[in-house]
């Protein structure tokens, strides 16, 4: 059994038990053991990088140190966590001067970054550890007839120089794992464009404008649902629809599911166990198609 230290982050335990439950149950079913380490903190994603980039790197490195001490690679669910941790890991491994500087800071907390571990996105774990064939064989409830709009968001892919998940302009990993579940991945306009999630709270109008475009394009393409990877994209597109309805008088009624939720459903996990009531836009239409 392959083991990983699970990096849960802040938003998922605070707001999205649907994400955590589906990911934990699906990965366990696929033979991946997740270990919950003590003392992990916020990863310091873009909102903290905006305050101080050097601090963010040091805190990300601190978290990687905890995984190094436990002799485990880290796996992330949230794309914000993936971006900040993978970026710190790659930057510090490749830049000795920066590593020395950050280790000077980490010394205050009794830590030293060694660079001995990997930070992985859970899609990489699916591809590399589980494997696409085993994944296909594990599907007991194929999502046949379900049209899914794959949405990568930004920080699973970019900055690609550090994240190396897939081609930042023509990625295919998410479509591949969607189709492995038996669903159809539908193409739509401006697929790789940002959902506006990080502008929420500073400029809600601009954020909603970007989310609205995403919802319009996926609706037009005939998608039954959008598949997300990031909790911020989920908020922007799911809760965002409630705000868009009141602000623009436009109702999309587009279910937004994390890919892990589609995965859990296809693996035969009972929808009742997945806390689907977390969703503001009902998922009934999607569940109905699967049953």
């Amino acid at each position: 059994m392959t083991s990983y230290a699970l990096f849960l982050g802040c938003t998922i335990p605070a707001r999205q038990p649907n994400y955590e439950l589906s990911a934990r149950k699906a990965l366990a079913k696929l033979g991946i053991k997740l270990v919950d380490l003590d003392n992990l903190t916020c990863c310091c994603p873009p909102p903290v990088q905006s305050v101080d980039l050097e601090t963010s790197l040091a805190v990300a490195a601190y978290n990687i140190c905890l995984a190094e001490e436990a002799n485990l690679d880290l796996v992330t669910l949230c794309s914000g966590c993936f971006e900040s941790l993978a970026m710190a890991n790659v930057m510090l491994k490749s830049d000795g001067e920066l590593k020395t500087k950050i280790n000077g800071i980490l010394g205050q907390a009794g830590k030293e970054f060694l660079g001995s571990k990997e930070v992985k996105h859970y899609l990489q774990v699916l591809m590399e550890d589980v494997g696409i064939d085993h994944l296909r064989k594990s599907v007991s409830k194929p999502l046949s007839g379900l049209k899914v709009a794959a949405f990568y968001g930004c920080h699973a892919l970019r900055p690609s120089e550090h994240l190396k998940l897939d081609d930042p302009e023509r990625p295919s990993i998410l479509e591949k794992v969607i189709e492995t579940l038996g669903a159809e991945s539908v193409e739509y306009r401006n697929k790789l464009k940002c959902c506006g999630g990080l502008l929420r709270g500073y400029s809600d109008d601009l954020a909603l404008e970007l989310a609205r475009e995403k919802l319009a394009n996926t609706s037009k393409a005939g998608a039954d649902c959008i598949a997300t990877l990031c909790p911020f994209c989920f908020v922007a597109l799911d809760i965002g629809q409630i705000q868009i309805r009141s602000q623009f008088n436009e109702a999309y009624d587009m279910p937004v599911l994390h890919y892990s939720e589609l995965l859990a459903l296809a693996l035969g996990i009972d929808p009742e166990e997945l806390e689907l009531k977390t969703h503001k836009v009902k998922t009934d239409k999607v569940i109905g198609k699967i049953r």
């Binding site: 605070a14 992990l40 101080d52 790197l57 907390a109 709270g201 400029s203 601009l206």
Partner: protein, 171 residues
Amino acid sequence: MGSAKDEKSASLTFPNAVRSRLGGETISLCYQCGTCASSCPVAKITASFNPRELIKLSLLGEKDEVISGDAIWLCCSCYNCQERCPQKVEIADIMYALRNIAFKEGYIPDIYSEFASALLDDGRIVKVSRFMEKRRPSLGLPPLQPTGVDDLRKILSATGFDKLQKKDETS
């Protein structure tokens, strides 16, 4: 007190200040082609944000206009610009460097100040409520492990991050 002179020296030092910060190193490579602006989802929907323009203003030393303005906070950090820049200018990272300078000088939007305070408080930028924590067993989730907030505070103190926050609180 010689404000014209101060302004002039600020205009010469600002590009250097950006360049010497983490994230800002590549700003001088920009030749203003505009690939960033044409790749930017935010620039498409508002005239208030244009990454090419912000870099130009920074290189011209227009520090006050750049760091006191709204524009630097309108970048959605999507990194499209950075992926496509033919000069390998790290535009999204430069936005962080500019925001970091703004933060240091006290230009701090409320939402970012909230994130920073939350981080100092309990090690997470989004607080997990007691209600959510208590619900976990009934949902079949393992207990949430404690955050290493004591270690974190040592790191935040070593980088001066905690003081950035204090300055905001007392201003």
